[in-house]
């Protein structure tokens, strides 16, 4: 059983109207692996994580987590993962401590362990002194740190981290990756992460999948991707796989602006 993939994604599609956010993607993640999901803005990374974390349903295709169908066994699946979302999900009208505590209760962490681990994590991310302050008084990076500390409060089988280090200083980033690697080593946690920092992915990930325009374009270790593309850094390999054009919303918005400008000039 040990070799059964902990996450199995088969031919999933997610469309929003005419946009194919995820278009026939398949991959497996092995237990205990740190798996990086890379891709340019709007590639479909967050959409995939939302489907894997039961927040939205795929248009078609199948998703399995720990052998369970994600769309039909939602509660059982939710017991097995933890997630740090790309977008904020804290209650800014509560204190840091209260946010941690509610999370502990939601994830059935026993009271005593809850206290202890909240303290350890808040200290680790240097939020202990500010634990009784309302989150709305925190800086952006502090909020992000709290979000991560909260995500690490319980020990799930699979940890989803959607751009966890966005906006974090180097100290906090190091702290976080060290802790995540420890978790993997001691508890065998599988980590599924996305990031735009290629050096980070290169350093922590065992395997990498690259997605672009909703389609998977490559999978393999960092070394394999470099070899496949004949490049000597992950960043170069990433650019070789996904091209150098910008393709996020701002690009389309800029296109539209140009269109409008053209119309006006007439």
């Amino acid at each position: 059983m040990g070799d059964r993939p902990i996450i199995r994604v088969q031919h999933i599609v997610k469309s929003f109207g005419t946009i194919m956010a995820v278009n026939d993607v398949s991959f497996d993640v092995r237990p205990g692996e740190i798996f990086a999901f890379l891709g340019p803005n709007g590639a479909g990374k967050t959409t995939t994580i939302k489907m894997l974390t039961t927040l939205s349903r795929p248009t078609s295709g199948s998703l399995e987590l720990d052998g369970l169908d994600v769309t039909t066994h939602q509660t059982a699946v939710r017991k097995r993962f933890g997630v740090v979302f790309q977008d904020p999900s804290l209650d800014s009208e509560l204190t840091a401590w209260e946010n941690m505590d509610i999370h502990g209760v939601l994830y059935h962490v026993p009271r005593h362990a809850r206290r202890e681990r909240c303290e350890v994590l808040l200290r680790m991310f240097e939020l202990w002194e500010r634990r009784d302050d309302l989150v709305k008084t925190f800086s952006g990076g502090m909020k992000r740190r709290l979000e991560i500390a909260r995500g690490l409060l319980h020990t799930p089988k699979v940890l989803f981290l959607d751009e966890p280090t966005l906006g974090l200083d180097p100290q906090s980033r190091n702290q976080m990756w060290t802790h995540v690697r420890n978790l993997r080593a001691t508890e065998g946690v599988t980590v599924f992460l996305t990031t735009h920092y290629m050096d980070e992915a290169d350093r922590v990930a065992d395997r990498i999948a690259v997605i672009d325009h909703g389609r998977l374009v490559a999978t393999g270790s960092s070394a394999e991707l470099k070899q496949q593309t004949g490049t000597d850094s992950l960043e170069a390999a990433f650019l070789a796989l996904t091209g150098t054009t910008i393709r996020d919303e701002s690009a389309t918005a800029a296109d539209q602006m140009r269109q409008v400008a053209r119309v006006w000039r007439r």
Partner: protein
Amino acid sequence: MNVVFVLWLREVKKYLRSRVQIVASLGGPLMYLGVLGFGLGPVFQRAGEGSYLQFMAPGVIGMAVLFTAMFSGIAMLWDRQFGFLKETLVAPVPRLAIMIGRTLGGATVAVLQGTLIFVVTLIAGFRPVSVLTVPLAFLLIALIAVVFAALATAIGSTIKEMQGFQMVMNFLVMPIFFLSAAIYPLEGLPRVLAALTRVDPLTYGVDGMRGLLTGRAHFGVAFDVAVLVAVGVLFVAAGAWRFSKIEA
């Protein structure tokens, strides 16, 4: 169980922390009490209906409970916008527990606000006929609170935009208030209005309170309670169903 409790506590804590909001939300009911209570008082008296303040105090309390309970639906939209809703939706707990915790929290806040207005009406000169029925009146306040907090949950789970909720406030909450006989008697109404008042759950809440606090109920307190319980069950079920369907 713990889950229900922490989510309930969250709503109550946030209410107690928002002093400004508490004071601000006294404005509406106070205005009705002041302007209508004292403005229409003489006419009401001349029509042989007795003291208007006595009559409308339960209505104003009902109004405060209605508005505060419905406001918990807006709180849900905020939670959606600021992301906290997601945090609860992916947690390994039944959606029903989350929904119950939130709804009871919203209802509790509405009861607290209703209590505050109750005190204000007492200061303004409202006199319940008996002290003994006051605790029972709180049962009615609680029922009204649950009915509308559950309705707010159902609506908050369905509507995603703030503007949408603004519409709900204008086209649902205001009519619920004005059709509830909170500010006029149920006797001798034109037929259409009479029919409309009877499909408005708040009518029964206000009527029950009025029966208990002033001894003047149109339907009878037992009937009022029965209707509220039935509607409450229906709305909680609807809220639970809508909440279970949320995707983020």
